[in-house]
């Protein structure tokens, strides 16, 4: 997905994990995904650089579809679609 497409995607659940470092954002994503319906998009906000690499790995393992990352000012948004 392009940056424009990502920014326009309908987000069902937003997880603000900017207050935690590794492995906090992953843990918050795990806790939040249960409340997301299959096929819906979840975004994870993180300021931890490692999360950008970790979340796609988590998606691969869990079967979720990693959509991409959008850089914001001082943090980034990671998008994924629940399987």
């Amino acid at each position: 997905m392009t940056q424009e497409e990502l920014k326009a995607v309908a987000v069902a659940k937003s997880v603000d994990a900017r207050g935690t470092a590794c492995p906090g954002p992953l843990l918050e994503a795990k806790k939040a995904i249960g409340g997301v319906a299959a096929g819906d998009v979840m975004e994870v906000l993180s300021a931890d650089e490692g999360t950008k690499v970790d979340i796609p790995k988590w998606c691969t393992k869990q079967g979720h579809e990693f959509l991409g990352t959008v850089e914001e000012n001082g943090y980034f948004k990671i998008y994924l679609r629940k399987k």
């Binding site: 590794c22 492995p23 906090g24 992953l26 795990k30």
Partner: protein
Amino acid sequence: MSTSSEPTAAQLIEQIEALQKRVDQLENNRKDQLSIAVVSGDLDKIMAAMVISIAAAAMDTQVKLFFSFWSLSALRDARKKAEGKDFISKMFGFMLPRGYNKLKLSNMNMAGMGPVMIKYLMKKQNVMSIDQMFKEAGELGIEITVCEMSAGLMGFKKEEFIDYPDLRMAGAATFVAEAGESSIQLFI
């Protein structure tokens, strides 16, 4: 010449099928499970074990921690005491750190300044505290097994350990059996 001792093609096929079944069984035996033998009692190594465990649990991997030797200090609850210890056990109890918050760093300990600095930096950079790590680990269902033999050597009793949802005492065979069925095995 009689070939009655040689297997027929049908028998060979049967044997191959039996072996194939066995291989499938063995391959499926490896669970999505992480086993760590936690032996070090250094703050940095205990934290490494906890961070890896929490990340694994967040990925729905079953985690089983086997605490042995120096790592037992991490599981002590400073508020708890056990009766009926001999002199050497009391000495061990006195000399070893009382819980994960009292552990030393394996490097740059600097008479206790190192851990203070690390904890300050962790807080500043929003890293989970070691208290939080154990709390999250408990909530995630990470199992802790305490090596019975090490506990006996150091004179630690089960009632002295931290309140943790899934903490039990067992022997090395438990670790071997559980590690054998894990897809990831680590030694820290």
